[in-house]
Subunit: 205 residues, 2 copies
Amino acid sequence: MNFKPKIIAMDLEGVLIPEIWIAVSEKTRIDNLKLTTRDIPDYDELMRGRLDILKQHNLTIKDIQKVISTLDPMPGARKFVDSIREKTQLIIVSDTFYEFAHPLMVKLGLPVLFCNSLKIDSNNMIADYNLRQKNGKKKAVKAFMKCGFSVMAVGDSYNDTAMLAEADAGILFRPPENIIDQFPQYPVTQEYAKLKQYIEKFLDT
Amino acid sequence: MNFKPKIIAMDLEGVLIPEIWIAVSEKTRIDNLKLTTRDIPDYDELMRGRLDILKQHNLTIKDIQKVISTLDPMPGARKFVDSIREKTQLIIVSDTFYEFAHPLMVKLGLPVLFCNSLKIDSNNMIADYNLRQKNGKKKAVKAFMKCGFSVMAVGDSYNDTAMLAEADAGILFRPPENIIDQFPQYPVTQEYAKLKQYIEKFLDT
């Protein structure tokens, strides 16, 4: 048994909480907020469009946070997160923004989150966004490994696959079919109980 | 205001919990376990000596954990940790071992901990130790900064000063007099309430 300490790097949206933009779109009934990088591949263009839409509808960060605070983590997510934190170090890595995720992070027991931040102006409008770095998930995993950790990465979608490839081990949780087909090297599970088993097995290596 | 996300990198022993080896020495009444790098400057020699002493006294990891689980965090530490995690990302960086710190981390609400690990043999004796890396505290701060974070480091003793120097900002909490004299560039406080104010000020920069 290698006795390096371990970190679990876990995606947030689709794994522990619902997709935030889709939920905001549904709650606000603004259809255009449902667009993703599947529709607009350039992330910067997509985000600028989203911020413009919020401005057009005069939605402040407080309005958005009020919407987000009506959301809940996925059933069982909090208990799962608690049980992993009891056993090892868990760091959530996500492309979302602290200002959006916060109400849901509270409901998850405030695990550490590596994500991005928003610039809020004096009228509480979102003026700009700050990507911490390009390929932030993969680079976070790389940083943990450089600090001497063995890392297992858990994600659900295409933008998680680079960190799964970087890590010592990777698991797909509730991925779409095309990701399963394209990345047959990773175990796939739909259930927290099974995901916990994979993590425990990793902790014993 | 720079709107980079922030991380607080905080030392453990002397800041949130008592010095573990000293506490174990007092509880077990084995005086030699009180020796520190002040007495034996070579850390590896010091640690091998400690492991030998535990072996001589036939103390297993479970015995040590039982002793450590009678310890408590410093008064106010849990409330302080909770209040910081509510506001920003907190990562504890320490030279201790996961197997020792765990009971105290539970009492602190299981914040993320970057530290070292022990090799336990089949008789529950500590067979060896694994330093995650040399200068682990400083390198952890460096890794967070490379991930795009602004970092404030908090520590109490000489082995924290390298991470304080590396970080964007540093605070000394309950340091001995010689550290205050030698590192006049860092603000010093004795109280969590004041430390929280320094952190809040950093979060607003």
